[in-house]
Symmetry: D3
Subunit: 316 residues, 6 copies
């Protein structure tokens, strides 16, 4: 792949604002592609400029409506393949179905593996993703996956706040590894929430490992869905004596149901920092919810992929 291969960046309808911001960072216009829906709900896509021999990137998070965004992405890939694109990269700031990445009970599907398989079947040559819910999803692919993280952006964000006496909190055991990296970046101690039964047979409660008394917690998550587990973690922190000034940093603001109100209305939550991997529509915007942009990170990644420059040296 010589650096002379023309780069073309297209946007699905999953997050047009982010796509536009990435294009601006790259100082190039988004490629022309028409995406529309027929009255019966079927999606139709057509590229309105030649893509022959081009190094094509499709920006499409598979956020809600997840199935529509996913099928649209598959159609966008298929059309590129048939139109002789040289290389097709699915840029997925949010990777839907990531939580179904293994069988927890008999006779379930493994949706995340299925998504990986159909992306390859449609013709994707590579994937760029952000803070996948499970690292193993990267392994589901046999094509290269560049796995970016917003953790560095969160570290910068909190460093500029110059908070004192901070503690990094992983709300459960699943995020400990990532939290530990933030611990290193912010030079702060770690606390981990875990669920257990104080007395046998009693209700499950969320307990905390690590000292949080008098500290300002920063809860690190990959996504906020209904906000339920965040609220549980916040309450557990307060019970263990943390300051009622609690920060939440989560890459993906899924914010389903009444998540925004629950977060906004909790008196101990100081601020919830998310990224623009998923659009934040006006009705979900709240004062305490702060959105950082991953546009420059994705722009830089796209540029480096196109020019065969290392990405690992940049991120992580």
């Amino acid at each position: 792949m010589s650096e002379k291969t023309e780069i073309k960046v297209f946007a699905g309808t999953g997050n047009p604002k982010l796509a536009q911001a990435i294009a601006e960072w790259l100082e190039m216009p988004l490629g022309e592609v028409a995406v529309s829906r027929f009255p019966d709900g079927e999606t139709y896509v057509q590229y309105e400029e030649s893509v022959r021999g081009a190094d094509c990137f499709i920006i499409q998070p598979t956020c809600d409506p997840v199935d529509t965004n996913l099928v649209q992405l598959l159609l966008l890939i298929d059309a590129l393949r048939r139109a002789s694109a040289d290389r097709i990269t699915a840029v997925m700031p949010y990777f839907g179905y990531a939580r179904q990445e293994k069988k927890d009970r008999p006779r379930e599907a493994v949706a995340a593996k299925l998504v990986a398989d159909v992306l390859s079947a449609a013709g994707a040559d590579r994937v760029i993703a952000l803070d996948l819910h499970a690292d193993a999803i990267q392994s589901f692919f046999n094509i290269p996956v560049d796995h970016l993280t917003a953790r560095g952006m969160f570290a910068d964000f909190f460093e500029q706040k110059k908070l004192e006496n901070v503690v990094i909190v992983s709300p459960d055991e699943g995020r400990v590894k990532q939290a530990r990296k933030l611990v290193r970046q912010l030079n702060a101690p770690l606390a981990v929430g875990y669920k257990h039964h104080a007395f046998h047979g009693h209700t499950e409660i969320t307990d905390l490992a690590g000292d949080v008394k008098g500290k300002i917690p920063i809860i690190l998550e990959d996504m906020i869905t209904t906000g339920g587990s965040i609220i549980e973690c916040v309450d557990a922190l307060l019970e263990h004596g943390a300051q009622p000034q609690i920060y939440v940093a989560a890459t993906h603001g899924v914010l389903a149901a009444s998540a925004t109100d629950r977060l906004q209305n909790h008196p101990a939550i100081a601020e919830v920092v998310i990224t623009d991997s998923i659009p934040l529509p006006p009705d979900k915007q709240r004062e305490k919810i702060k959105q950082l942009s991953v546009a420059s990170m994705f722009g830089e990644a796209i540029r480096r992929v196109n020019q065969d420059m290392s990405i690992s040296s940049l991120f992580d």
Copy 2:
């Protein structure tokens, strides 16, 4: 595949009523499978009974919401495969994206081929379909496809009406082949609608080949989407002197937008016969719209597939 292999029939959420009717025809209960959606719009499926070694059929038309129904079908297939089903048949009374079966313009996707590919990638061993929009879709698969047709049901329906002086009408050249078969079954003449320009550069109009004067037309279609082309055909029939007692027979009642009202309110339309391949919700039900059930046809097909009996001898 010995006839002793246990048969299990499951329903997605695409058309539960038809699935129930098929199960009743087969005199067996539908298999237990839980299909639910998370607050963020992702689908979750789990079979609640063992499927090991069973000959499994999933009834799921990919009608509106097409992408949701399609992804659900893929998940249902994936879970069966991982749970050691012996054979997995996707029973698709309606096959969404069928109209995007070829590139008409540059840089389009071929959605119907993509759907065929991802069904195979998910693990489907065979497909049962009904009046596919294009015969070529059957060829997209390398797995066996049993392609049923409602034409015989329509022929019976109109024979019982004992209408006199009937003409079978294909509204455009795409349905001529199917119409010709109905012509044979009903022993009636044929007329074909086709679009042309009466004078060069003027608006395209729908003209008619074949004599319809004084005749009672039966328009044969595979699907009614917005009803627009049906109405055009009806009007052309009237202009050419057909009786204002026009019947429409279409397998799939997509009935998007205001199709139902347009059909109901047209004075020359006597009756619109569709099947229950797609659910007809109460708000789309109209006096003139008559729904025939394909449950027995699908039930018989499933039984024959399970028992390795010929299907071609039954249908067509």
Copy 3:
């Protein structure tokens, strides 16, 4: 694919004259490849120059002897793949088995899909085809297919004739879509042949939709095999009052059996225009049969594919 990638064009034995003409248009010699047959009928191929890293095109229509030409094409592809060609394009001016593109009856093969599958299995990276009998064949492939058409050449040809009072005729419903495009290019009205039974149970006859009285018909077809359906169409045109000066334009001159004599000897046929997609051996040449060359069209397509330039902007 940078434009610096060396282009190499090779010819199978299917149509050496056309291959030579394409090479001349490209102002480059045909690549050296030996194709021979052993006494037992097996084909042997060997490239006699290095193809490493080259952008290779094999010109091979799969016309009669279709199986021999097809297997030869597969061998030519296989040898290129093993010899480290960078990209392999099967240039198929005529695509044999195209009429078996769907199952019309139970337990048939779908030969056209099989051909698509084995071309991919042998290692073809892309295909260039001309006026495929069915558009769906393009969809059978998951590799890019550039689908050229001779319709523009036919339009130019008839425009230069400055015929007055022309009507474009599709001999059956299968060619209506293509005929409609020629209608636009020649600004002429359309007529469509269709088969029906004037009285029930009687012999099938070919009728005509559209006004042809006193007009000069141009029948558009994709191929002429035995000439039978053309003759039927010509006779129907005469019955409906068309002028006994009828033109036929068909991309592929298969001309099996006594097709050439039937066309030549019909008094109402003025001229039959075909292309050189298939060789026209001396014993098939007749005065009324005019052959246009697609060499420049294929040459231009090859050049553009090699240089990653849009093809859709050129053709259609």
Copy 4:
């Protein structure tokens, strides 16, 4: 798969004793297969009885020497495939390379996914595994994987000991989910080890969440490699006041380097319970190391797979 399909069980050289025990549980002899090595280190396999149409199981953990055992397993599968076995199940009591299941650093391999891919490429139809290091490995396959666990056996073992005041310990966040299930089975509280820095920049230490003071800990692990992390956990438990009577339950006794001596010689370790998923050679046998047999569990699983009976109802 009818229950009449003959079952055949073969053993690789990875764990002949376990294979023999499984065969005895099944009350059938092991199938005849010769596995040998040439002087140059290459493995040769040959089945010495017909396997046509049989439901074949190969018992082969890919423990040390892992590469030899893996390649041998691939050869055993390949030979079955070529000899017309009806179904091939790789029974892997230990799945080597399981810890390399995701990229933790740039430019690593994902060995566990590679192993899954080559098992499928060789012709395995299904896999039976035991306590995989990461659940995601099950998702790497598109063939069915039955994932057994020794947790129930450990629960029974400790219940029979009638220990009082027990606490279940997950040595790190990776085993919390499994530990939580043991908590339910033994009705005991949970403690979780996690690594952190007491003071920033200082050495990483292992701390504990949950109350262990005066309690008898049962540490749950999937495998013991060098024993290092177990010892760290034991020491942390003692520091937090646990009784110096500590039990370790780990499915896979890899026991590399001086692991056995380290465990045997630690005064606070009361007993180390492992299974016979991996052979325990005489030089690794120690008084404190107790081996439970998974033979009956695998035997039952093989019988149920052969008879299409549910496995999930038995285990977990």
Copy 5:
């Protein structure tokens, strides 16, 4: 595959007489399948009876016309697959293109591998072959290949002749391994022809290793193509003092060009024994050419494959 699976045997047009003989041995009629050719040379196949769930065998040697027979076989497989056959076995008494099984010179194809690949791509589940020109061809497949040999039939044939003082001759190094097996069966010594240059730079001649003086040679070959190398071998045998009573045993009588006359007219050739793997048309029949039938061998193999009985115990 239970033994209750219905067996169906079909014949392509490659060797209808052998197919008929096999069916008679099996005491069952050949299945109904129509194979025809269109005027343009394309083949059309349709099964005229249901094949659902059946264990189907297609008897089709890919002898001359090799490409036509090969493509026909692919179509026959494809149609079975689409018609829901349970298992498809390509029974190939002669495997065309077998001599192109490796690259001897740069930029050749490997036709035999291509044939193996396209048979699998078309949907063959297994292959039964006879005396493949190279053993490696069996390895080209990942599906099971049952490789029969006529060597036992030849041994019986010559044993019954009760010839004295016989020597088994491999005409070149390629057949030594097979000849050695015949040596064991007939308890006779071995001689091997090999080509060399008596004096450097002079013409290549065929020399002989092993003592043939006064002996009656039986030359063993897998096929006779033009007869050239057989004649060379015969002449070399005479030069080395063999008796002018030379037998030739070759499984496949390709007999291209004037092979039959060359063999018939050579005074030292006593008899040429071939099999009916390839049809021997009347114009190729000669007095010295004796054809043994492989019908019972193929019949027995088909029966055993269907019933999951070992084939190796029968042959070789």
Copy 6:
């Protein structure tokens, strides 16, 4: 593949000295890659420099320990693929399992085909090999294989010796084809060893075809494993009157068991010439064993592959 694509050459642990020599010939350093083993015997690989878009070559003979070297090679390929290498070439100076390239007995594996399949499954784009034991192995791949030979080096070596009255000896029929090429290069006669039974039922002995009396033999082999067949050949040569000054030229010095001593101690063996395709550790070095380096040949091949230059013109 433009010649500007950066070349990177990496070494597995199979033959570091040869890898270093190749890199020196190419005048470039070996790429940085860490290959290590965990205490439990599992291999871990990580590239320590970016490989994005690079044309990567991995030098790794799969000699003893063959399974470890093979799995390591697969891991090295997998890691390159996931790290976005542009092209991955497995450079295999020795290809292990090459002797298991066909089924000689029922129910064997075809290990060489399995190796080819898993190399492709892991992501290899091409292979460079040296004197494969069987030419057919090249055909097992559908990716390009450049098959080098040391025969030219051996020819040069013996020409410089200016031996008189030389005879080229193939120790069995398997090497005759290669020996014949050396015959042409050295302008010497040929002799071929073959095994037979002097008297029926007696022990098999090695006999010789061709005149060796008073000649100096050069035995050509592809590999020396235990040396047994070489010794047999040497003894047969002496029995037939060859001079007791016998040379052996074998590409691959596997030299298992006591091969080195057997060769060194045989009085009639003058010299054994092998290459450095496999490391020759100090304990295997003997006075009579002479090692030629294939470093320049592999270096030149790598350079030409990278620059899309013909390799066939160089070698063979």
